[in-house]
């Protein structure tokens, strides 16, 4: 991660820390931007369906039907209209924040290019939805949008006749225009839904729903706003009069004033240029990718734990190809693999207890093999001294851990913390290589590889396979998900953890020092 990006990420995390304090890591809205986007989308769909029941297509009927909803049926139609508008505005906010955040956090390159790339067309679709929606009201704002948009489209020079001439005088306007707008306003969100689905296609356990509490709070916020400041129409459109002073929705229409000042072709060049730049961004420059995970069939029985745990659907099960007595085998799709190592942490054969045979697990990272992890750990542990010897494991995306080093503390790094199999904790603690293991890395609720922290906590809590064995004293495993901004607190948490180790009962030394457990294939 480069310097400027690291600074930007730290800035983001600083803001998120504030939200953490109010909402907690799980409800932190900045950790839920994508899910909130989906939530706002569904609010606009539901409220839009209600509005559509009462909407009348026609030059004057469109405005009148919305006035009826807003003024007469204010308690239902008016609220729905306000929810429709404000949820779509909120969608713009979370979508833009989501885009910037994923860029800053460097989660758009390498194997993750697909979600970024498919997200770019969504920008156009969301704006097309919003703009066509405002068009349907047929007030002076709609009139302004209709004329400005068609004038801009005319500058493309691809239409045989000027589209803007449809809005020249009251006599040139056709009622069919509203039918077309309704079609666009329904069709585009449906296309959008399809693209949104494609957008998350490569994510396992994609978050498409925010936590219930956050969703409830957000909906309540929109409802309160709808009652306090209902969405209203402006004066009815009149093509004989120029809309002079207009109350724009700046979320959707911020670029429109530019159309009054910048030539249309230049605006098209900017729009297409920005779109192209966004599309190409994952390769400007491309991520220097580590070697993808690889499967060793001699040690893979096709149990599927790696498939379950891979956050990017890069591992799949396929029929066995080596004639072994198992029906399936794991297969890695190299182009989808982020080399996070979470699959290695999920593999039951990734156990450091193996001594009689080489430590080769069913799935491994060629750039950081589990054998090397054990060797590095043993070397680091052998240099520890004192009564509370701690091995600190951090991840590549986390803070600089070098200042944590001391005679009693050794620091080790992994691509993702979930690369560490639970058997390593067992091995370190019950074999007395250290008195405790301390985990740190990304900020809580915001694992760079999406699910690393979650899987690790579930494995340690005995909720996810592979489980931490019960013989391992859980209190000898500490964790603090610091992110980049909690360096001082990380030091304190580690010091507290180290101090607490002295008061724990000693770990029973195991009778058999060299065991062959793990040599067998785990099913």
């Amino acid at each position: 991660m480069t310097g400027p990006r690291r600074v930007a990420r730290a800035a983001f995390e600083s803001v998120e820390n504030g939200f953490d304090r109010a909402f907690g890591p799980d409800w932190n809205p900045l950790h839920q931007l994508g899910a909130l986007g989906w939530f706002f989308y569904w609010i606009t769909i539901v409220s839009g369906i209600y509005l559509y029941i009462f909407f009348d297509t026609g030059i004057s009927q469109a405005y009148e039907s919305l006035e009826y909803l807003t003024q007469v049926q204010w308690y239902a139609g008016g609220v729905m209209r306000s929810l429709h508008r404000y949820a779509s505005d909120a969608l713009i906010i979370v979508m833009m924040l989501h885009l910037v955040r994923e860029y800053v956090m460097d989660r758009y390159r390498g194997a993750r290019w697909f979600a970024w790339f498919t997200g770019v067309p969504l920008l156009w679709l969301v704006f097309a939805c919003g703009i066509s929606g405002y068009w349907m009201v047929w007030d002076i704002l709609a009139q302004y949008i209709a004329i400005a948009t068609t004038e801009w489209l005319d500058t493309l020079g691809i239409f045989g006749e000027s589209i803007a001439r449809n809005f020249l005088t009251p006599g040139t306007l056709s009622g069919r225009f509203f039918t077309l707008m309704v079609f666009i306003h329904i069709a585009v969100p449906l296309v959008m839904l399809l693209v949104m689905w494609i957008h998350i296609l490569r994510q396992r356990n994609a978050r498409v729903n925010p936590p219930v509490g956050l969703a409830a709070g957000t909906l309540a916020m929109l409802l309160v706003l709808s009652f306090i400041k209902p969405a209203l129409s402006q004066a009815p459109a009149d093509l004989g009069v120029v809309p002079a002073v207009i109350h724009l929705d700046w979320f959707y229409l911020a670029a429109y004033p530019l159309l009054d000042r910048v030539p249309g072709p230049v605006m098209w060049a900017i729009a297409f240029g920005v779109t192209l730049l966004l599309l190409l961004l994952p390769w400007l420059p491309p991520l220097r990718r580590r070697t993808p995970a690889s499967v060793d069939l001699d040690n893979c029985n096709g149990c599927g734990r790696c498939v379950e745990d891979c956050p990017f659907s890069a591992v799949a099960l396929q029929p066995r190809t080596d004639g072994a007595g198992f029906s399936q085998q794991a297969v890695v799709a190299n182009e989808l693999c982020t080399s996070c190592g979470i699959c290695v942490g999920a593999c039951p054969t990734s156990t450091p207890f193996r001594r009689t045979t080489a430590l080769i697990p069913g799935i491994d990272l060629p750039d950081l093999r589990i054998q090397a992890m054990r060797d590095t750990m043993l070397a680091a542990a052998s240099g520890l001294s004192g009564k509370a010897r701690v091995l600190v494991y951090g991840c590549d995306q986390g803070p600089d851990l070098s200042r944590l080093r001391s005679p009693g503390v050794a620091v080790l790094r992994l691509p993702c913390i979930a690369m560490l199999p639970p058997s390593f904790f067992d091995f370190i603690i019950t074999r007395h290589h250290a008195d405790g293991v301390f985990l740190t890395g990304c900020a809580e609720g915001d694992c760079h590889y999406r699910l690393g922290i979650q899987w690790t906590e579930q494995r340690l809590a005995g909720e996810r396979d592979p489980y931490l064995r019960k013989r391992v004293p859980r209190e000898r495993i500490g964790e603090f998900w610091s992110g980049l901004t909690h360096g001082k607190r990380l030091e304190r948490e580690l010091a507290d953890f180290q101090a607490g180790l002295g008061s724990l009962p000693p770990v029973r030394r195991r009778a058999v020092e060299h065991t062959s457990e793990g040599d067998v294939r785990h099913g």
């Binding site: 907690g24 906010i93 005319d154 045989g160 120029v242 002073v245 724009l248 700046w250």
Partner: protein, 167 residues
Amino acid sequence: MVRPVQLLGQAIAYAVFAGVVGYLAASPAYTHLDPGLALIKLSFSHAGKHQGECRQRTPEELAKLAPNMRRPLDCPRGRLPLRVELVLDGELLYRGELSPSGLAGDGAAMAYRKFPVAPGRHHLAARLRDSDRSAGYDYEKEAEITLHPRQNFVIDFRPALGGFLFL
């Protein structure tokens, strides 16, 4: 267990978010046109004359053509540009040459221009040349007009209706 201070923090966050959404959804107002002005909009689509003389095809020539292509006149493809002039109260408001559309220059020329002007009574003259004459205009219309603030005054051109239309 959510502490009261956390609830307060959440309430503030929601309020700020709602405030931003509620405000920017309709504010600040944007002035697209000075409300004290009127707008004259020149907009039309018209094809100029062909760049050369048309020739009447003979019956033999027509018979050789596919049925759907039997047009009696054989004209050069390209069209002449239009020359347009608007004069308001004796002062030139616009003068321009409009090229025919299409890659071969065989389509209609299109005009779409907007001119904010002061409201009140004006003398407006519109002129258009669509032939290869070297001076003067083929179409011309003059009128006394009264513009109101924010009025959208349209100048259209339809030869079938006699030329310029002031709407």
